[in-house]
Symmetry: C2
Subunit: 203 residues, 2 copies
């Protein structure tokens, strides 16, 4: 038996432990290379017990993905067409960078899924994500038409924000290898990205 909705105290605790452990393992190895034994060990329980709460490895993965996509889109939704263009975009950049710092595992899980061709997510990307991006790109285009920010391709501007911010989560190992152990990558990144987007958007 497995559970659509955890009810008892124990179920809630173990559900959380499993999803957290699975996030840890999947985000490092990707779906294919991760094993149930690793996840069970990380969650501090036996493999059969883990399968008492979730019907399969894929079910755990899908649960993580579906929870993730919403969280991932939230900062984009908050871009306010009525706000100050520079503030709104820089707020979005800061929000995405914060997510890379606070939720690097989620970022890497997402990156693994995309790099493998997004087998479980492609449809959502083509519908939900595309619609949201188109909508916000239209807002940016309107700001450009009003001369409030510099003329840039709105879709690619969004890609640039995604890539520069997620880089600090997905490639954290490389970043710290290059910067050395004494520099605070995220603190520096915040100042850097503030400067970069300030220059980029100024008319």
């Amino acid at each position: 038996m497995s559970f659509q909705e955890p009810r008892t105290r124990i179920q809630i605790k173990n559900h959380r432990a499993i999803l957290d452990a699975a996030l840890e393992v999947f985000s490092q190895l990707g779906f294919g290379a991760a094993t149930l034994d690793q996840i069970a060990k990380q969650a501090g329980m036996s493999k059969p017990n883990l399968l008492y709460y979730f019907p399969s490895k894929e079910a755990i993965y899908l649960r993580l993905l579906s929870e993730l996509l919403e969280t991932w889109l939230d900062p984009l939704k908050e871009i306010d067409p009525a706000g100050d263009p520079h503030d709104e975009i820089r707020k979005y950049v800061r929000g995405k960078l914060s997510m890379s710092r606070e939720y690097p595992r989620e970022s890497r899980l997402f990156a693994h899924e995309i790099m493998q061709g997004a087998p479980h997510l492609l449809e959502k990307l083509q519908s939900d994500l595309r619609q949201m991006v188109d909508e916000k790109a239209a807002v940016i285009d309107a700001w450009i038409a009003q001369g409030k920010i510099a003329p840039l391709d709105a879709h690619h501007l969004i890609f640039s924000i995604w890539s520069m911010t997620q880089h600090y989560a997905d490639f954290a190992v490389q970043v710290s290898a290059v910067l050395g152990p004494d520099r605070d990558a995220f603190a520096e990144a915040e100042a850097h990205l503030d400067a970069v987007f300030g220059r980029m958007l100024r008319v």
Copy 2:
């Protein structure tokens, strides 16, 4: 028996076929999730035959990685301290974007390795890569000190170039899902990045 250096015509052909097939499979699934059967099938030969040319799965992977790192660093090496700062940096950006377009599999292979903690590459990153980046960052800092380009953190500027260009290879599926099938992501990216770095570097 396996071969340090392929000699005969057949060895050369099969070596190439195996490395190409392995690149295809590893770049999509990462090392752990890829299987020798998949690689052998992709290379059009039996698994034992594949293992006649390489001693192990890891040996194939390591060969790919070691060839890759040099290729990957080459464009950075070509930044010329004596050249025009704007030209040199924009040439580098264009070079990296071209590599994402022409060698997306190599880009994704590298990304997989880094995201898993760079188990086979960490030392090289901390020595070779770090040294090369420090060297070129010093060149950029000198340009900034001379007032030739805008004052930005040189290391993070390099990270920004890496992330924005590699994004079009590593997240190609997402990019095309968002842009739709009719837009040419790479052509647009070239114009976009030209505009972005033009604005970013202008004093």
